[in-house]
Symmetry: C2
Subunit: 117 residues, 2 copies
């Protein structure tokens, strides 16, 4: 990664939901932006924590025993193995970090193809 990454600029380049775009690499992790709206699927990642940072909007992260709500400037790390379901009642913009190749649904068969912008 050799240039400055402006997240608003990257987010202006696409409109689809639940399809993360990798904007930088950090030690084998993808730094990603994504737009989300509505309910995602319940899933977990056996091998990695799941980092969420809200840039715009308000995101609920439902877990089996509780729900956390993230507003802009707030972050949450879902520990590995913990089932969760992100729910966005409006369009939400997120910064995500996951090891490169992590399926966003927890399952390679249903995962969105990883895109780079």
């Amino acid at each position: 990664m050799t240039s400055t990454i402006n997240l608003a600029d990257k987010l202006s380049q696409f409109d689809d939901h639940w399809s993360p775009r990798a904007v930088a690499q950090y030690n084998g992790n993808d730094i990603m932006v994504v737009k989300v709206r509505g309910e995602f699927v319940w899933h977990s990642h056996a091998d990695t924590d799941d980092f969420f940072f809200v840039l715009k909007g308000s995101l609920d992260i439902e877990m089996r025993d509780r729900t956390v709500t993230l507003n802009p400037g707030e972050l949450f790390v879902v520990p590995r193995g913990v089932e969760h379901r992100p729910v966005a009642r409006e369009e939400v913009h997120l910064l995500l970090i996951e090891p490169s190749g992590t399926p966003n649904t927890g399952d390679p068969k249903t995962a969105a193809a990883r895109k780079v912008i």
Copy 2:
């Protein structure tokens, strides 16, 4: 990490410069906030990339062959092994990610003690 992290709240809890506070953990990495002002030391990290995301202010990251300037909402990853010097002409607030235990100066002898809030 089991609760929502509000970065503005975390940043309101300290005023010193160049002393990162870990606010969350992600796969053995510290997610940190820091306030900086002035010139840091030239350094590099042989074993890790160095992630910078600007929350407030404008940060120059000088490298031997060029300088990048980061404004709020912009990020940059200094590749491992690349010498760099952060320079903040005003107070700048940053989100940083580094493997837990990484010395912020690249040298354990001169590094700031890692604090957790």
